[in-house]
Symmetry: C2
Subunit: 539 residues, 2 copies
């Protein structure tokens, strides 16, 4: 027997309607490329999003078409977040840090027909424009003109009558947005988010036990809007009416700290490297910026070192560790402390906060080791598998990628984790980075984090190097701080106090810098190419 | 184009699985009829819920069958909340305060085939048992025996092998639960909740800007589990892992305050009459109970007087005003203060907290006056219409009730409201209680609340009485406090300082007590029957 409730669809137009009805006067604040500040309201944003939807329709964009953006975090990008899905098209965010090759591949693979590009990012567009077929390229800036052959976003909106907007009937399972996962191996693969996934994810982020985003928050997403929809936060903010502060292209520590102070930011989100820069700036000039008491900073993308969590605590700012992937919209888990840890020691509480957290509501986890699902004992390691209403079921236009999903419908994350009895996930490694030494697994992430706790180490990566006896053994690649020194023996002795002997790297290579991917992660494939036989040479 | 996300269904089995996986050790605490305390965990609850599901199946209960409960708030009732839907059947909660007539009608109208009844409520069952056809009656107590002809709940569970439980595939739109609305006019009408509605409602209640239920909460629902699923809170608690404290049949102020102290309750929920009793007890013995700092108390069912909100603030306890209906699962709106009121005067903040609040996420509101939708200006009055994923689309087996829904799919609440620019709803009246005086509307609720602020008044109701010139005029019906006196002239002079002259009641009738419905609301239909022509006699 069916229930007798309304068939109310969970769609982005509902989110926008809520922002406009209840939070029309709440501000959206954006830093522009010239560092000036643009201010308007959710009410004005909604009106312009509808203009964009109408304008796209008049350009011939049809429901289901892919409309790409190549833009920093700002109000025009927010208008695209709503305006493109409002038109029935699919918002496809492009990462300007990718190579021209990758961008050309992604735009072609997605079949994007229109591109919205920040004026400051036109040089990125130049890198791939000859290899893609776009019907329209629309330039976002403060001006109403655009270079020859391109359209001006502001002109387009000005010439549009928002009264001709007609709300379309949208099924919650229709696609609304798309983002390509930045695989460190293989071609990027597209994830196609439904309206339902985005809306449920937004509600999930506003629950107390995840990110707790509320109307009273002033949220600054440092995480780019081209990076899994800035972790869905623009949608969450619109849903709950939180004030949004966009940093534009200015992501340096001083610019972000200035916005923290001036706009009274209460919640921010970004990857560890951003926060490390901010912590360094704070340690240098602890009295320069007055931030809001209890400012929460969500960290994701890669693991936040314990030293960073403690460092911010000293400044009255709280790091909240979260985990997710492009394939999970992205929020999967958040490391708030459960009540069972209320009376735990400081060390135990910090150790838990440094984990990736317990799963969000509706998000289910399990992990599979070499002999089946692992127990939740904080020790056994296995590949994390997840499922839920905001987890991808397949990739877009990517034949041969079925091996990322289990036969019973779970997504294989590629992360090697342990899980403790409270359900806290701890990422030990990526499946492809794990060292398999004589049939035993060694976590490179644990070794890296420990090495980065050494006073002389700036950055450290650990990779699996080939070994004649053990098949693979760990090899550390280290960048020292400018004015510090340390020998390989010293570093290995330092690790020996924290790990079993058979986990210790067989050798340490010192390099000037560790290569990074377009999303700021260590580019381990390049390291492996260079160092995979380094131990054979020594053996 | 469809999104490529998992078709993950929003169902109660997902909620139970989460409670069992992540919060197996969290406590569920119940006060029994003999006042002793029963303690166990969500893990044990889940195991027994599965036993119940298996047992119902062996009794011949089939998917879609209705299984009724007649029970106080306690752990066995919680098992039924999950076990009945787990079996595929529909949980139908019966209100023991209803008359035997109403119960016989409701059980027959729903077609209930099985009843789970608290041993202490067997006398209520006796009142209607000869007028209904139930295949099995199962008695819940601590014992493994039951009176002749009835089954023992504990015996049934003990005799069941939980390993024979097989998880059914459930569509999120399948019915999971049912509750009859206690209309003060006409027959009660059944609302049939889908799994989807209950799950979305639970997530909604855990958002910061609604009730903010979290894993760290210890929640005591004074609101009965037969009253719109205790406002959905048992499901919300299981989803987030909050500790549950059930008061059993002991709802007097001292028993509840004792649980507040002993179990360190952080969040409670109930109707205003319960909280008024608790406030009186606290004022009498302010140092007797040590409650948790900042204890939140959700109030719904009818309006909380401003004096009560202020009274609890003096004791460090925070009243949170909420609004909902059986037809809305029930949470529709919550009166937290938005940031725009952060700098408002104390008076303005209290006035807002006394309103019914702004709508929950995904819950949409509008109000219709005599000439169309009203503006949100805090003044215009209209009937509140709502829609959302947890709003009823129709009633169960109730022909002729279509007039409660608009042509474009909104539910007509029957509440007359004004809405302010922030979206705060203020209930002025029920449509059927409103006084229509010479074409103008007068809110009886506003007059009642003002009258109850007079130091001599214990209770006050205002009804529409027939009038030869104005069609209807307000008539006040008042119960004075035991040792206080006041004349009709004094009370009307008291109101004259707060309302326009044409709003003032034409007369005041003094009575010993105001009749109440089974859910504790003023039974205005009875008052109108008695007093509707009182003004004609005087004219």
């Amino acid at each position: 027997m069916k229930g007798l409730m309304m068939e109310f669809q969970l769609t982005l137009p509902v989110v926008l309607r809520r922002a406009e009805t209840l939070f029309a006067d709440k501000p959206v604040i954006s830093r522009l490329p010239d560092k000036s500040i643009h201010r308007y309201t959710y009410g004005e944003m909604a009106e312009r999003a509808r203009r964009l939807a109408v304008a796209l329709g008049s350009l011939g964009v049809a429901p289901g078409d892919r409309v790409a953006t190549l833009a920093w975090n700002g109000y025009q990008h927010l208008e695209a977040y709503f305006g493109i899905p409002l038109s029935g098209a699919i918002l496809h965010t492009l990462n300007p840090r990718l190579s021209g090759d990758d961008l050309a591949y992604i735009v072609s693979n997605a079949g994007d027909s229109v591109l919205l590009v920040d004026e400051t990012l036109l040089p990125v567009y130049e890198k791939f424009k000859d290899r893609v077929r776009l019907e329209h390229v629309i330039v976002m800036s403060q001006k109403t003109e655009a270079p020859a052959g391109l359209k001006s976003y502001e002109r387009l909106l000005a010439d549009t009558d928002p009264r001709s907007y007609r709300e379309r009937s949208v099924d919650e399972n229709d696609a609304a947005a798309m983002c390509y996962s930045s695989g460190t191996t293989g071609r990027p693969k597209g994830v196609l988010y439904s309206h339902r996934a985005l809306v449920l994810h937004s509600i999930g982020e506003a629950m107390v036990d995840t990110l707790g985003v509320s109307e009273r928050d002033v949220l600054l997403p440092v995480v780019p809007m081209f990076h899994v929809n800035a972790w869905g936060l623009p949608y969450t903010c619109a849903l709950v009416g939180a004030t949004l502060v966009f940093p534009g292209p200015h992501l340096d520590a001083e610019s972000v700290l200035e916005l923290f102070e001036k706009e009274r930011v209460t919640l921010a989100a970004g990857v560890p490297t951003v926060w490390l820069g901010i912590l360094t700036a704070l340690e240098k000039e602890p009295d320069r910026w007055k931030t809001q008491a209890g400012l929460r900073m969500v960290v994701g993308g890669s693991a936040a070192p314990l030293s960073m969590i403690k460092g911010f605590d000293r400044h009255g700012m709280r790091i909240i560790h979260a985990w997710g992937m492009t394939e999970t919209t992205p929020l999967g888990s958040v490391s708030n402390l459960v009540s069972g840890l209320a009376n735990a020691s400081d060390d135990a509480r910090y150790a838990t906060r440094a984990k990736q957290g317990i799963p969000s509501a509706l998000f289910e986890i399990r992990a599979r080791g070499e002999s089946g699902l692992i127990p939740w004992d904080d020790t056994a390691m296995g590949e994390l598998e997840v499922r839920g209403p905001w987890v991808a079921a397949s990739y877009y236009n990517a034949p041969g990628s079925d091996d990322r999903f289990t036969g019973d419908g779970w997504f294989k994350t590629g992360d090697i984790v342990s899980i403790d009895r409270h359900g806290y996930i701890e990422i030990k490694d990526r499946t492809k980075d794990l060292v398999k030494s004589g049939g035993e697994w060694i976590s490179t992430v644990a070794l890296e984090n420990a090495l980065m706790g050494h006073p002389a180490v700036a950055e450290a990566a650990v990779i699996a190097a080939n070994h004649p006896k053990w098949q693979e053994r760990p090899l550390a690649i280290v960048t020292l701080k400018k004015d510090k020194t340390a020998t390989a023996e010293e570093l290995i002795a330092f690790l020996a106090t924290q790990f079993p002997k058979w986990w210790l790297p067989d050798a340490v290579e010192f390099v000037d810098a560790i290569p990074r991917t377009a999303t700021g992660k260590f580019y381990k494939m390049a390291l492996r190419d260079r160092f995979k036989d380094a131990l054979l040479a020594k053996a």
